[in-house]
Amino acid sequence: MQGVLGVFHELDSAVHAVEELTRGKYGELTVFTPTPRHEFDDVLARPKSAVRKFTLAFALLGVTFGYWIAIWISDYWPLVVGGKPVASWVPYTILGFEVMVLVGGLATVFAMFALARIPRLTMTVGYDPRFSHGDFGVWVTTTPERTDDVIKILTKHEAGEVRRER
């Protein structure tokens, strides 16, 4: 993978650079920001995170398991009290709810890890420690022929530093 990294100290410069790079379709863009900045959301127009699908699926799985384990235990060791049903759904709702939250919550986090590609063993190219501090980074994966154009755009928008990486 090769590309160009632009380091911006100012938010507006980075946004303008991303706007122009997006319009020109120079390659895959990755923006690094010290904190989530929605200024980039509209420009990059990424699809909605799919985390929600995992949350829903595993929450349903969890609630099913919560009810099932309680019913199974009751049937395995029946305690008949006052002729009432052995498996009683009202108290089992507590177990169903708790297991739903547990499984759904953990699935949400693991889905986030998987979709965001973490844990990451190496920082890969295109990252600079300044991006967790306060600077904004724009990494463009592009072909060798278009590299100079990308550098020109990043420089035009007053990137503090522009460098090729591979």
């Binding site: 305690l79 507590i94 939250v101 986030m112 501090h133």
Partner: protein, 475 residues
């Protein structure tokens, strides 16, 4: 995780998700945020002294427990008819403390309450350590504590499973779920901040530890996109969880038959009390941190004012619950209920009930005064009274009911022993030991979220350019 200053297609500023009302005028730059918050991680003599005291208290607790294991539960002051005492009281107390953290980090997040930004990290840590403390008490309460795992549902050689209709089994599910989700919530929120520490750390050992904990976080737009979504869903899960956990704890009592326990008011009453006590403990912890770490321009008087209003509101809900209990007993026409409540307030346990009423109902009314809401000394003193009052609230729920049941010949008293007090002291030592270790290893304020409140550096004069995503005049 907050999101800030999102531009709307028609040019109207969409408000920050949780930070709409946060203003930190004395915080000027991202560099200042990093420097000042990371600066709190340097150990000081005062910190070592506080940690030493906490460990000493913990040792007293361990010694007391060792003695109790050797002598049996009788060493703890359990005498018929009162067979639930300090341990169950402290269990409910610590679970309650653990509620404010998730309330502040999850519920206030969903409600866009901006004042949470500066206090949510320490509240979340407080939650995790409080629930860790609470979880010890049911084990301490067991005659044979080494058999505690019998409560967990798993395939075993005994071919015996826990009874899923028992409130004690509900407790196990609820508390373990709460501990897991609270810890996960704390850790997920910490990942971007640990990445900041990783990138600034020079000590190779600490850097390696931070790098492992940060999971290779790079602050990319893809990571933030999934992160903010996952954080939102975690908050959405944690919100009903907060309400459910203390409701389940209240079922330990409400499912029982002693007078004063068997009422439907218990779940909301317990939840309001838990949030109230948790906010009290947040003040107890946040105010010294604010002062000793010189974080007055992060945890502002406005934040404290807003938290104090929440404290006042929950105090009034709790007060209403106290009064409703009396009304229910009065209108029930049940002489046993009426006798029990009379005994609680004017009889054997009047001293405890009045401590509860004064600390939880009367003193918090002072927060109607804005001057006192913004007086940190008063807030700290009040928080100590709230902690005391809420411990006694649980005392008043547990002990008078058991000591004054249906049959007069069974009535009795309760006298905690030094073992009870030793273990109670040890629980505070355990809690504060973990908290003190936390605040010197990980940032006590959420670095990346506070940065959202701070205006970013801008090169050009603020003004919305044609077709630009930048919010004009926002900065």
């Amino acid at each position: 995780m907050a999101t800030s200053a999102a531009p709307h297609p028609d040019g109207v500023m969409r408000p920050n998700v949780p930070s709409a009302t946060v203003r930190l005028p004395a915080v000027k730059s991202y560099e200042q945020v990093d420097r000042e918050i990371i600066g709190t991680l340097n150990p000081t003599l005062g910190w070592f002294a506080a940690l030493g005291i906490a460990i000493l208290c913990l040792l007293v607790g361990i010694l007391s427990w060792t003695y109790q294991i050797h002598e049996g539960l009788g060493a703890a002051g359990y005498r018929p008819p009162v067979m639930w005492g300090v341990y169950i009281i402290s269990f409910v107390f610590w679970v309650g403390i653990g509620h404010a953290g998730t309330l502040i980090s999850a519920i206030l997040y969903l409600f866009r309450a901006g004042f949470r930004t500066s206090i949510y990290r320490l509240s979340e840590a407080m939650t995790v350590f409080a629930v860790m403390t609470a979880g010890l008490f049911p084990i301490l309460h067991l005659g044979r504590p080494w058999k505690f795992f019998w409560l967990i549902a798993y395939p075993n050689w005994r071919l015996i499973w826990p009874n899923p209709k028992s409130p004690l089994v509900w407790d196990v599910f609820a508390i373990l779920t709460y501990l897991t989700i609270s810890s996960t919530f704390l850790y997920v929120g910490l990942i971007p901040d640990v990445a900041v520490l990783r990138d600034r750390e020079t000590n190779p050992v600490r850097k390696a530890i931070y790098a492992t904990l940060a999971l290779g976080w790079r602050n990319s737009d893809n990571e933030w996109r999934h992160f903010t979504r996952a954080y939102l869903f975690l908050a959405a899960f944690a919100t009903p969880l907060v309400l459910s956990v203390h409701s389940v704890v209240s079922f330990d009592f409400a499912m029982g038959l002693p007078p004063g326990w068997h009422t439907t008011i218990f779940p909301p009453y317990f939840v309001a009390g838990a949030i109230f006590s948790g906010i009290g403990m947040v003040f107890t912890i946040a105010l010294p941190i604010r002062r000793f770490f010189k974080l007055q321009h992060y945890i502002t008087l406005n934040d404290l004012d807003a938290a104090a209003k929440l404290c006042l509101f929950t105090s009034m809900v709790v007060g209403l619950a106290y009064l409703t209990e009396f009304q229910v007993a009065w209108m029930s026409g049940n002489p046993v209920e009426q006798e029990y409540f009379w005994n609680r307030v004017f009889g054997q346990w009047a001293w405890a009930a009045w401590i509860m009423i004064i600390c939880n109902m009367v003193l918090p009314l002072s927060l109607f005064s804005q001057k006192l809401r913004r007086n940190t000394t008063w807030l700290f003193i009040l928080s100590l009274f709230i902690n005391l009052g809420m411990w006694f609230e649980r005392f008043v729920i547990v002990v008078p009911a058991l000591s004054h049941e249906y049959e007069p010949w069974k009535w009795g008293g309760y006298h905690p022993t030094w073992v009870d007090y030793g273990i109670l002291l040890g629980s505070f030592g355990w809690f504060f030991m973990w908290f003190l270790l936390f605040i010197k290893q990980l940032p006590v304020l959420a670095i990346s979220e506070i940065k959202e409140v701070v205006p970013p550096a801008m090169r050009h004069h603020p003004g919305r350019s044609e077709g630009s995503a930048l919010p004009g005049g926002a900065h």
